[in-house]
């Protein structure tokens, strides 16, 4: 399998605080990887480093074998290839639903307005939001916002999509609609990297589950092994705590 991203010896400090300690890890094309772990374990930071929203302190991020931290490639070009879906949606408040999905295509990919609209409509259709193209972000619900955010990321036709706790800020009754969209995407062969607390989703959808603890990858394996037969004691304690609550 072709590997899209490979991380080597990644370290991230916030001041004196070492948040990521020597992370080594790779993502293959078409793979769905879920990253789980307690808060403060570094999983969001890892995802944000992958999109350069945080600058890693040390280490390498290889994108198709090319180290993006050595400025062989501009950050903007690389970021356009890594879609990102945020916990807080972060839809552009000054733009309509449709414009949210076209602005990047027009300004970054230099597509024509008509072409951008066509692509955007395709993905808005996919997430079930094509009826809301004229709405402003403050006029739609959280679940709808997150679906638009997914369509916005897909409209850039990225190589991989990064999800940073996409359902954590949602009301419980809206979690389902977003997970359903994500499940559909996973089935379509899109490469996805998902930081999540939704253990059921990780178990059903992920090809691989990564458990992070204290800034290191404590264990990574198939969902079956992680959830039914974890080898690491810390994984066991974490899952017990989560599943009992």
């Amino acid at each position: 399998m072709e590997n899209i991203i490979e991380i080597r010896h990644l370290q991230k400090y916030f001041g004196e605080n070492e948040v990521l300690k020597d992370i080594n890890f790779s993502v293959n094309k078409g793979e769905v990887v879920c990253i789980i772990g307690s808060s403060g374990s570094g999983k969001s930071t890892l995802l944000r480093c992958l999109n350069l929203l945080e600058q890693p302190t040390r280490g390498e991020i290889l994108y198709h074998g090319q180290n993006i931290l050595e400025h062989d490639m501009s950050n903007a070009v690389y970021r356009a290839k890594m879609g990102m879906v945020f916990q807080q949606f972060n839809l552009f408040n000054n733009l309509s639903v449709l414009e949210n999905c076209t602005v990047g295509q027009i300004k970054v990919l230099k597509r024509s307005a008509a072409e951008a609209k066509k692509t955007a409509m395709e993905y808005l259709e996919l997430v079930g939001m094509s009826g809301f193209i004229d709405a402003r972000p403050h006029q739609i619900s959280g679940g709808q916002k997150q679906r638009v955010a997914i369509a916005r990321a897909l409209s850039m036709e990225p190589e991989a999509l990064l999800f940073d706790e996409p359902t954590s800020a949602l009301d419980p009754e809206m979690v389902g609609e977003v997970l359903k969209v994500m499940k559909g995407l996973a089935g379509s062969g899109l490469t996805m990297l998902i930081v999540t607390h939704e253990m059921g989703f990780a178990r059903d959808v992920a090809h691989r589950v990564v458990f992070m603890d204290g800034g290191v990858i404590a264990e990574e394996d198939t969902p079956d092994v992680i959830f039914n037969n974890p080898k690491n004691e810390r994984t066991r304690i974490f899952l017990k705590r989560i599943l009992d609550s």
């Binding site: 290839k81 552009f92 602005v103 970054v108």
Partner: protein
């Protein structure tokens, strides 16, 4: 109508209106033109400085670029501090007579007036715009960067449109303040409303009557402008919550307007 020393207050008011209304009108016109132009140019200056002062500079930025940025930033801070920290009357004197003496440039009082109001407003707007920019949620920047936008694209298409909308109330505040404060330009002989009133009053030795009329003219101008701007603000769609940062009277003020649907 003829008036003399024994005429009543109202007779004088009527007499002055009848005989001096073109003067008031011309004064009001100059006042409006200077304050409107000054506010617009000052807003432009403010946006430019606000953008420069919010350019992200970190340890990965090239050292030369960092040095240039530091120097520019210090110069801008000096500009802001000097023009916010001194009275506009004094600025008017220093600039009007200063450019004539030092550079031999003889500005017309009208041009000098617009220049002074513009740079004065610019100093205030710079901080208001900067406040408007930094009050925009960090998530908006991150989402724009995440789809590959550069910092300038992010500012132009995502952040500034939101920031400007949020600072519109502060902008109309500046405009109203400028209408009133152009009166200090009479010290360099700008023929605005206060200057014209002074000559009308001096001709007749009737200060109370004349300035009461002047007062009303100012009030009509500021009231009308406030209404128009408020209408305009309402027409522009805004988020439910926005923060207004600072005003000329209270620079550190933060007003949160909650519950306004766009």
């Amino acid at each position: 109508m003829a008036v003399d020393a024994n005429s009543s207050f109202f007779q004088w008011v009527i007499y002055i209106i009848q005989n001096y209304w073109p003067l008031f009108l011309r004064g009001a016109e100059v006042t409006l033109i200077i304050s409107l132009t000054g506010t617009i140019i000052g807003f432009g200056i403010g946006i430019l400085i606000g953008i420069i002062r919010t350019i992200p500079i970190d340890n990965n930025t090239h050292i030369l670029k960092r040095a240039i940025y530091k120097v520019v930033n210090v110069l801008l801070l000096i500009y802001i501090e000097v023009f916010r920290g001194t009275p506009m009357t004094v600025q008017a004197m220093v600039i009007f007579y200063g450019v004539a003496m030092v550079w031999g440039i003889h500005l017309t009082t009208f041009v000098a007036g617009i220049f002074i109001v513009s740079i004065n407003t610019g100093a205030y707007m710079a901080e208001i715009v900067r406040g408007g920019i930094i009050s925009i949620d960090k998530g908006q920047f991150e989402a724009a960067h995440a789809i590959g936008m550069t910092h300038s694209q992010t500012m132009a298409f995502i952040v500034l449109p939101q920031a400007i909308r949020n600072i519109l109330p502060a902008l109309s505040n500046e405009f109203v303040i400028n209408i009133k404060d152009t009166s200090v330009l009479n010290v360099i002989g700008v023929t605005e409303l206060f200057f014209q009133s002074k000559s009308a009053a001096g001709n007749n030795y009737r200060y109370f009557e004349v300035f009461l009329i002047t007062c009303l003219v100012y009030l009509v101008m500021t009231f009308t402008v406030t209404r128009i701007l408020r209408y305009w603000e309402k027409r522009l769609e805004g988020p439910e919550v926005y923060t207004i940062h600072g005003s000329q009277t209270v620079p550190e003020a933060e007003i949160k307007i909650v519950g306004r649907k766009g």
